[in-house]
């Protein structure tokens, strides 16, 4: 028996490909949720009154200090006992999104706090509305510098997608494992999955860098 057999590579390829599509889709959708929701969390944290802001901070802390897998189980398995039945796909992506929103909100918060207090004061002195102040003055200065931090969580979430297997979503790694089990050959499928994760991570970090560079230039922050 060869250590490496190209036959199995060929066999596994179409099977793994479908898993890769699931993994990429879950990452993109989940991260879109995390980006938007994380920003909402950060803004509530900053703009809410003492009570609301505190509640938001506690919520974020709670999400960050329980395991992702537990949260997935909670929504998918505990929910139905109370009549809340959520399809696996929605539960999985939703929980990934919310979990990473908590992390992203801390990144955004660092960016928002780094904006000079004088920017808020000038906005008030010019009578800009709160919405306009956030959208046109604060966020364009707060976000570009923290794109690398957000990008780290993008890749982190990507690497967490195998957790979806726990609620029967056939993502990449699960398929690699299944393929191995069926054929009594693990090395090719698992290695291919590994290469896929590596390549995706490299491409993703290049994209994150480009976006960061572009945003910083766009807003003349460098």
């Amino acid at each position: 028996m060869n250590i490496w057999d190209w036959f199995y590579v060929q066999e596994a390829l179409p099977y793994l490909y479908r898993g890769a599509v699931v993994t990429v889709q879950a990452t993109l959708l989940g991260f879109a949720i995390a980006l938007v929701l994380g920003l909402v969390f950060a803004i509530i944290r900053h703009a809410g009154g003492p009570l609301v802001s505190r509640a938001m901070a506690e919520t974020v802390e709670f999400i960050r200090s329980t395991p992702l897998l537990l949260q997935v189980f909670f929504v998918y398995f505990v929910g139905p006992q109370f009549g809340i039945v959520i399809p696996a796909w929605i539960a999985g992506i939703g929980v990934l999104g919310i979990h990473y929103a908590a992390y992203c909100s801390e990144v955004y918060r660092a960016g928002i706090e780094a904006v000079d207090e004088g920017q808020w004061e000038a906005s008030t002195a010019l009578n800009l509305s709160p919405l306009r102040t956030w959208r046109v003055i604060i966020l364009p200065q707060a976000i570009p510098p923290v794109v690398p931090g957000l990008g780290n969580y993008f890749i982190g979430m990507f690497k967490d997608t195998p957790i979806l297997a726990a609620i029967a979503i056939l993502e990449m790694l699960q398929r690699a494992k299944n393929f191995g089990a069926e054929n009594y050959r693990y090395i090719e499928a698992i290695t291919m999955a590994g290469i896929f994760y590596l390549v995706f991570s490299l491409v993703a970090s290049a994209i994150v860098q480009a976006v960061g560079y572009w945003l910083n230039r766009r807003y003349h922050l460098t």
Binding site: T124, S129, P140, H220
Partner: protein, 259 residues
């Protein structure tokens, strides 16, 4: 209405925790009057401007602007602390220039001056651009419209900041040590713009300054702050040549010694 003061502080008290920063301040400023505020560091000068700009809430008293209360509004026939809508409306009469410019770094000089006229006053882009260009011209920066703040010197930044505030057509302009962050050779160009403003515009001006020469030459009245109170005020000639308060004398001699 015409002889009502443009700005009135009525028994205004401001505290930070147990520290009383302003203690029952009373101060009237007439329309078109130029008032300078001088005094030692920590005496509450900046706080006066920040309260008037509504950057700080006051603890007691009332601030009036142009005949109506700024810090309060009538609600159910009673004076209640001003809500956001009321604040936004009255605050529109006031403009402020800061020690550290506070320009929007991601916008050109022109865009800095257009943002609020478009989004707050509802001017069209063309109107706002015309207004901004005219003001930048007035402060001597017609050729810097497309520059970003980082490409400008301190003096140029501060002149953009003045143009930006004026673009909102305020009745009252506040200046908080607007030359303190500048290299000495750039102070003159900013003071010249302020002189020009005083001469050509119908503006009530309230400025905190360490430029004693300028305060003396430019203002109608000088207020000397000490420990959250006005220790002495009067026409500049009187206050600088013949101060009555011992603290004023000490302060002036210390400042003049330092050059």
């Amino acid at each position: 209405m015409s002889d009502a003061p443009m700005v009135r502080f009525e028994n205004v008290t401001k505290r930070y925790g147990s520290l009383t920063v302003l203690d029952e301040l009373n101060l009237d400023i007439a329309a078109n009057e130029k008032v300078s505020i001088i005094g030692p560091s920590g005496s509450g000068k900046t706080t006066v401007l920040r309260m008037l700009m509504t950057l700080e809430r006051i603890n007691e008293g009332v601030i009036w602007v142009d005949g109506e209360p700024l810090t309060h509004e009538q609600r159910n026939g009673r004076m209640a602390p001003a809500g956001d809508r009321h604040l936004r409306r009255v605050r529109g009469k006031i403009g402020m220039v800061f020690q550290h410019f506070n320009l929007f770094p991601h916008m050109t000089a022109l865009a800095n001056c257009m943002e609020a006229p478009v989004s707050v006053l509802g001017l069209s882009k063309q109107e706002a651009e015309a207004r901004a260009a005219e003001l930048l011209d007035m402060v001597g920066l017609a050729d810097k419209k497309g520059h970003y703040p980082i490409q400008l010197s301190g003096g140029q930044k501060q002149r953009v900041a003045i143009a930006r505030a004026l673009a909102m057509r305020p009745k009252v302009m506040l200046f908080d040590e607007v030359t303190s962050a500048l290299d000495p050779e750039l102070v003159g160009e900013v003071l010249n713009v302020i002189r020009k403003l005083g001469a050509e515009h119908n503006l009530t001006m309230l400025m905190v300054t360490h430029q004693m020469g300028f305060a003396r030459e430019f203002s109608d009245r000088v207020c000397f702050f000490y420990g959250g109170r006005i220790a002495e005020q009067g026409p500049p000639d009187k206050l600088f040549n013949d101060p009555e308060n011992e603290r004023t004398r000490q302060f002036l001699s210390a400042v003049l010694e330092a050059g």
